[in-house]
């Protein structure tokens, strides 16, 4: 990395595709992941083999160590709370207490000196369960007479959100056409390549425990575990080392971590647990299992007047901590209208408990599902009005800002129409239509699908407070220190795990301080080293941690200028920081920034009491939130004989505000789209009628490979956000939000001659063939 391109030389580090500071360790095998730590003891969990039942007995082999709920005397249940939406708090004991509620639930933990021995012992545990009737489907759980999963939540409804705008009924009655979508999103698993894991070690000198684990939110993990186990937070240090992807799955508190810390305290030793892939697939949190009915009322010119929706979200057996199970149904309720101008809205959103693995956030949370639903609505409406799918979007996309949605969300300036037009131009729709027509004549079925969407990102505590969360995340803190050697350390509360924040935050600081990014170390993921913060999730870290970084760096900059002003005997306004030097503008008088830093510690007597010692400043940031947006276009080929879908091309026109590092931004979009294509076509957790899981290996649950992902063409607009002090918007989830809708619309376009409708993800070959067979029967 050269010293060129700093602020004073007319170029900024922000906006440049510099190589990542994270990479040298990771590409040489020097990354430090949780599973790399040796431990004196290893744990294997005994998990429920059935979805529902009463535990009669759990007997471990003689001479081995096993713990069950009976041993965890005084340990509280994990009980996340919402204060709104008729939420029924249900607690989750870290190990099942008398009753099991899903296949894979923890019943006991066995401990041995090697992981292999622990696994052997676990296989010999005699677990006797009186199996009861389970319910795994959310609609079935809502029927009268369905098994009741928790007595606290009668009818299996754990929360219910309802809204209706005042003029809804009157406007609904004026509609020219009502269009309906019955959308189904099957259950999915975020599937990070690194499974979850934890390592808890006891320090005999201090009595403290250090928990190293695969978490996206180390600080809250510490708060939660000390609450549940009932000891001071100061006795627990939590480290998130290198974490091998999370995508939301690693932000929720794992019961396993609670048990590990309890065991390390009990054994006064080190204890490790590394999840295997089967455990991850059956019990590592699931997502996206929803039924959504969406109706749109349109006027004669195909303008959307009102939306009515019924959302049924299968939240699994317990409520995830800290977001609670409201995260999917309530986000669906708040953001269903997406990028469309519609002021009348009615919604019923229910979270339904079932005998399935607990639901937790997964990249995009509800938005891949609601975007797929409303984008199906738009395509169906276009067909009903006999207009082009692009046209109906032109007529309905938001184009005035700030825009207040029917749910009261304020949209900052975005480019919904501009990105649509950009995508339409780049994909050359007329040329595609000709290719489609020629293909059909030869039995080759091509389709094109559009998805336009808004991505709410970088939102602070007010947005979470609107859900009534007992634990309300939102803000971030960053502490920037220039040490006496002139090097910089930024300690951040966020906890990146692949997003490249060590690089992008260094770029922000480098511009403020007139130094190079390689002089800046970003420290995260250690509750002893980093200030309290919420972590990395919800497309928030670059906006919120980035904002806090900028605030702290500006304070450091101001102090450097003040010190320079003393030493150079010049007004601070006449000094610039660039190329590692403080310079008096228009002169050749300079002083190295490293010298200013040294003086801040060692020559404080020279400042006449006007400047406090040291060079450390803190920034806090809690922004209102900003909306990124994009238009995705998929071109697919559907083999009508086999139901196989090949995505031939994927094009994106996106706007995420000011881009800090274009290379990293593009990488986030690529990865999101690949997950979205997987969600659209391949990925599905399947339960049998008794609540057993049929997809417990990666040969059954199918993340996409390089073969399934086409070349992705990216186009950009940068609309700087006024709701973000770096002007950046978040972009971590957008790829996953738009891709399923674009792919499913493309499949429907390809199959339009057959009169079939695919309103379900994933659109597997079996589902496509079943739809085609159904259409053949009708014909």
């Amino acid at each position: 990395m050269s010293a060129h391109g700093t602020r004073g030389s007319g170029m900024t580090w922000v906006g440049r595709a510099i190589r990542r500071l994270e990479d040298p360790a990771l590409i040489t095998g020097q990354g430090r992941f949780t599973a790399d730590l040796p431990a004196a003891h290893w744990v294997r969990f005994v998990r429920s083999p059935v979805a529902a039942g009463k535990i009669l007995s759990t007997i471990g082999p003689a001479g081995t160590m096993m713990i069950t709920a009976a041993d965890l005397d005084g340990v509280k249940r994990i009980t996340p709370i919402l204060h709104k939406f008729s939420y029924k708090p249900v607690g989750q004991p870290p190990l099942a207490e008398g009753v099991v509620r899903f296949t894979g639930e923890l019943v006991a933990a066995v401990v041995a000196t090697t992981a292999a021995d622990a696994e052997d012992i676990a296989e010999r545990v005699e677990l006797s369960i009186d199996e009861t009737v389970a319910v795994s489907d959310a609609r079935a759980a809502l029927k009268s007479g369905a098994p009741q999963v928790h007595p606290e939540a009668p009818g299996n409804v754990i929360l219910e959100g309802k809204v209706k705008t005042p003029d809804f009924d009157g406007v609904w009655g004026t509609a020219d056409k009502i269009i309906t979508v019955n959308a189904r999103s099957r259950r999915q698993n975020a599937t990070p390549i690194e499974p979850r894991g934890a390592h808890a070690s006891y320090d005999a000198a201090t009595g403290r425990i250090t928990l190293t684990c695969t978490t996206q939110m180390p600080h809250l993990t510490r708060t939660a575990i000390s609450d549940v186990l009932g000891f001071p937070e100061s006795e627990l240090r939590v480290i998130a080392p290198d974490v091998g992807g999370g995508f939301g799955q690693k932000m929720s508190l794992a019961s396993e971590y609670v048990v590990l810390v309890w065991l390390a305290r009990k054994l006064k030793s080190s204890v490790g647990w590394i999840e295997d892939r089967r455990e991850n697939l059956i019990a590592g949190f699931h997502s996206r299992d929803q039924y959504i009915t969406l109706e749109g009322a349109f006027d004669k010119s195909a303008k959307l007047l009102a939306l009515k929706t019924d959302i049924v979200s299968n939240i699994g057996a317990y409520s995830c901590f800290p977001t609670t199970c409201g995260v999917e149904p309530l986000m669906a309720m708040a953001e269903m209208p997406g990028p469309y101008d519609v002021q009348q809205y009615q919604c019923l959103a229910r979270g339904v408990i079932t005998n399935t693995c607990t639901m937790a956030p997964y990249r995009g949370v509800s938005r891949p599902v609601i975007t797929f639903t409303i984008e199906r609505l738009m395509d169906k409406a276009a067909a009903a009005f006999g207009i082009d799918p692009v046209d109906i979007r032109r007529r309905n996309l938001i184009d005035r800002f700030p825009y207040k949605s029917a749910m009261g969300l304020e949209y900052d300036e975005a480019t919904y129409k501009e990105t649509l037009e950009m995508a339409v131009k780049a994909i050359d729709v007329p040329a595609f239509r000709k290719r489609q027509k020629d293909g059909r004549a030869q039995g080759r079925h091509l389709g094109i699908g559009f998805a336009t969407f808004s991505e709410r990102t970088g939102y602070g505590s007010p947005a979470f407070a609107a859900r009534g969360m007992e634990i309300t995340p939102g803000w971030e803190t960053v502490i920037v220190t220039v040490d006496p050697s002139g090097f910089v350390e930024a300690r951040i509360g966020s906890s990146p795990h692949g997003q490249g924040l060590r690089t992008t935050l260094a770029q922000i600081i480098a511009d403020e301080l007139g130094i190079t990014p390689d002089m800046i170390k970003v420290v995260h993921g250690d509750t002893d080293r980093a200030p309290y913060g919420w972590g990395t999730f919800a497309s928030r870290s670059l906006v919120i941690s980035g904002g806090a970084t900028l605030i702290a760096a500006r304070k450091v900059r101001a102090k450097l200028l003040k010190i320079a002003s003393h030493l150079l005997e010049t007004a601070p306004d006449d000094i610039v920081l660039a190329d590692g030097m403080a310079k008096v503008a228009g002169t050749d008088r300079t002083i190295p920034i490293a010298k200013l830093a040294r003086e801040a510690y060692t020559q404080t007597h020279r400042f006449g009491g006007e400047i406090e010692p040291g060079l450390t400043e803190t920034g806090h940031y809690d922004p209102p939130g900003t909306f990124s947006n994009a238009c995705h276009v998929a071109i697919v080929a559907v083999d009508v004989e086999t139901g196989h879908v090949k995505v031939e091309k994927f094009l994106v026109a996106e706007d995420a505000g000011r881009i800090i590092n274009p290379m990293i931004a593009d990488g986030q979009v690529h990865g999101g789209i690949a997950q979205g294509i997987g969600n659209a076509l391949l990925e599905e957790i399947v339960y049998d009628e008794n609540g057993g899981i049929l997809t417990a290996t990666l040969a059954d649950y199918l993340p996409p490979t390089a073969h399934e992902i086409p070349d992705i063409e990216l186009h950009h607009i940068e609309t700087p956000s006024t709701n973000s002090i770096t002007r950046a918007k978040g972009l971590g989830e957008g790829g996953t939000i738009g891709a399923p809708a674009a792919v499913i619309n493309a499949i429907n376009d390809a199959l339009s001659p057959f009169g079939v409708q695919i309103d379900e993800i994933p659109a597997t070959p079996q589902r496509i063939r079943a739809a085609l067979r159904g259409a053949e029967k009708l014909a």
């Binding site: 590409i27 095998g29 052997d120 390549i193 690194e194 290198d242 990865g671 390089a706």
Partner: protein
């Protein structure tokens, strides 16, 4: 649990003499018995490819091979790719083209790519895509992995 067998694994040119149960996988032996934690384990059933290492010049999923099967054979792992401070072209290309994000699958992809490019320096794009489809990455969407491997192939041919 059963009796242990003495074996020697030659990892990145250095012998590692260990005693393992017959059921011990090569992946576990490399990581835990020999201490090379750069090789990662993602699924333990041969699908994800995170544990790919090179055994006698062939990319191998080390979770599907027993350590005793590798006795006396030459094993290369991610730790052996660079020569001193000089990165292997595949490592440099992954950095230059942003072929990694979280970095967990990366060692497996690097070893897969090196194994294939050494065997077939002129591999065509279609065959390369086939090979790279052997491993899973959840972060990058594969775009930049493919770019990086193509760039490394060119660099390795020109060396």
């Amino acid at each position: 649990m059963s009796a242990k067998t003495a074996i020697t694994l030659t990892i990145n040119g250095r012998d590692c003499a260990i005693a393992v149960e017959p059921r011990r996988t090569l992946a576990d032996a490399i990581r835990e018995d020999c201490g090379h934690t750069g090789t990662h384990i993602g699924c333990e059933h041969g699908i994800c490819g995170a544990c790919t290492v090179i055994v006698d010049d062939e990319p191998v999923r080390s979770c599907l091979m027993f350590a005793v099967q590798a006795n006396g054979r030459k094993i290369r792992t991610v730790e052996g790719l660079a020569t001193g401070d000089k990165l292997h072209p595949i490592q440099q290309a992954f950095m230059d083209h942003h072929g990694l994000q979280c970095g967990f699958c990366t060692p497996g992809f690097l070893m897969l790519a090196v194994g294939v490019l050494e065997r077939e320096p002129n591999i065509n794009d279609e065959d390369l895509l086939d090979v790279l489809s052997s491993n899973l990455c959840r972060c990058t969407g594969y775009q930049n992995i493919i770019k990086a491997v193509r760039a490394a192939a060119k660099e390795m041919r020109n060396r």
